[in-house]
Amino acid sequence: MGTKSIDQKPLVLYQYENARDRDIFESQFGRDFTIIYSESDDETLRNLRQSPDCLFLDMGNLKTVLSSSIFKSPEQVALNIPLFLLGNNIHIDTIADLLKARETIKCYSKPYDSNLIRSDVFTAKVNVKLLSSSYTGVRSKNVEPAGTSDSKSPSVLIVDDESLATKYLIKQLNRINSNISVLMAENAEQALAMIHDPDMNVAVIISDQRMPGTKGNELLNEVQRSYPHIVRILTSAFQEVDVAIGAINEGRIFEYLKKPWDATQINLLISDALVEHRRYCDDLIRDENNLLSEHQRVIEQRQDALRAEIVKETNGPFCIAVLEEFFILLSSMTSTKITASKLRANKEMDLDVQIVSNFKDELAFWLRDMEGLKLLDDNSKDRIKTEIARLLQLELDDNDSDLLSSDLDDSERQLVLYTLSVLDVLLTSSNLDRSAFELLTKECGAEVLTMGLSKIKVFVHLLSPISSVTKSLLEHQSALYSVLAIHSLLGDRFQWFCVNDELKIEIYLGNPEGGSRELI
């Protein structure tokens, strides 16, 4: 793998009021970050042009932060640099106000946990999106593309163990605005069940903190992980500052609401939340579509490059025909997650060049020795198939070449040995061995060597987003190619089936009654 220059330290802009705070910050983080110090709003604004990875505001009173020009400055907003606030005695009202003002914000109450801050700064440097509310590393199978959910309007879920009060609130809400569907749950389990149900189409969740069992912030945390596009709001009658801060930092909530509420206030909040939800969904879908189309482009180029390379090496159509079949098979399989960082890594490290040349090397057997193998007659094919089956059933490896029957000529022996090694590679990759093959008699009377319930699983393949070219990937993929090539040579005597990314192989010992091969 290519050597990279030493990763740079995160660049951090730190504005402070108190020299002692500055010293503490330096002693904690001076080793790990490159820090730009600033004592005034103006200085900070100027320094923002250096594009730091994040901005720390270490003020005694967080309320002053809200009114400071930094907060509202257009440059700062435009750059959307994550804001990390350090404060003493953070007040609950301030937190609620902060949330209203910004998206990427983290709060640390002193004495702070420097490990956490360090982690958050690195996260901001490595992938700032991880800090935002609607982002999570998980494939968003729960998000509906715009337009398809016309039949179900988005609903709001209120989770509170005080069901009478909640029912009353819902009645009032319906009176103000009958268009929004408001659902109710009394605890986390009920809430999660409703969220898992796609018919409910929960877009916003408002949860009280104090409930029996799982608490509100934990519930919202859980929702964030599996359904990051659901807008999360935490409410509480109590001044639980730590909980609120945790909910902001970990659960990335949209708003923190103090009880008691009134219906008009909630109604406005719900409207804002639904707009936010729409924004989350649109962003998610747009990002996925962009990634998908870029990935498509990459794999089309990859296929073209592979074709060109294989054509150069061979002087017959056999290998190329198998390659096309191979591409069709891979296209039918699911791909591992397409992420921006994988695509970027692929481009930066020029991985496709490696992929193409290494794969071509793995296919050396076919590219060089095809001439001898093409001219097999039926008897030859039968001998080869029988020998493969015989050795598979012996369930021994290593001694293959010693055990080979002397009936075979050199090229036949070669093919038998190669097939066995290919099967071994595929079997080991799925934690199987040759004992996975068992003899079966089919209804038509033909004897078949099948894999029974065992399957060879394919998780990642040449048309997946590849971020590193490993030996095992290349071996595995060339083995898969070989299975298709061997079938091409031996015909229906050696068959493969692939369903749901799971591969099975069968060898027909008697005369096959025209067995058909299923693709997908």
């Binding site: 992938n127 591992t336 994988k342």
Partner: protein, 216 residues
């Protein structure tokens, strides 16, 4: 950082010796339950479905598939699974970005200490991403830091530390030094807190390393 519930841990590490050494350490943590282990990715995926695991520690360099691919497959099934990836060496920020983008919550290198691993486990249990600064630092700092802390202890504390490391009982130490058991207990607590140790073996290993260094 919420720390209410039990961590139900599934461990996927190929080599038995390494896996057991790790598990013996993790067994000592009361908040961690070991609910399963495997050597390969395929085994992991088939067992995870039925297990109660809420956290997975998995090696990047597995025999059958790479840890990243297996992690993605596992997360498809269960998006709430918290995954910690164990890599052989510290990685670049580019690779870190790839892993985090796929939903892995923390990456720990086998060149780091077990304490770093345990610390990461507790930070990520509620689903937060935790990036350890250790990854990006030069290695020399760790051991010398502990030494520094030791020499900052009072003479008496250093004395008591050495005796404790030799597994001499509190009462025996008390009678040797002519002070009460209670005082020795206080010293012990102070030593552990100042040095950042949680268990006796940590102190013992530290003292042994110190002795070895002196003898060189």
């Amino acid at each position: 950082m919420s720390s209410g519930h039990q961590i139900k841990l599934y461990t996927t590490i190929d080599k038995l010796l390494y896996r057991e050494a790790l598990l013996y350490q993790l067994l000592l943590e009361p908040k961690i339950d070991l609910v399963g282990e495997a050597r390969t990715g395929v085994e992991t995926l088939s067992e995870l479905k039925g297990s109660s695991a809420n956290m997975l520690i998995i090696e990047e360099d597995l025999r059958d598939n790479d840890g990243l691919t297996i992690s993605e497959m596992a997360l498809l099934e269960n998006p709430s699974l918290t995954i910690l990836l164990l890599v052989d060496n510290p990685i670049s920020q580019q690779r870190l970005s790839i892993y985090l983008d796929s939903g892995i919550k923390s990456i720990i290198s086998k060149t780091q200490s077990i304490k770093d691993l345990v610390k990461a486990i507790f930070y990520i249990q509620s689903g937060q991403v935790y990036i350890d600064g250790e990854q990006f630092r030069k290695q020399e700092q760790c051991v010398s830091l502990e030494q520094q802390l030791f020499y900052e202890l009072s003479t008496r504390e250093q004395e008591v530390a050495q005796l404790i490391a030799q597994r001499i009982t509190i009462s025996e130490i008390a009678s040797r030094l002519g002070i009460s058991n209670k005082t020795i207990h206080t010293y012990k607590e102070r030593i552990f807190v100042k040095m950042g140790f949680e268990r006796l073996p940590e102190l013992m290993l530290f003292m042994q390393r110190l002795i070895n260094k002196r003898e060189l």
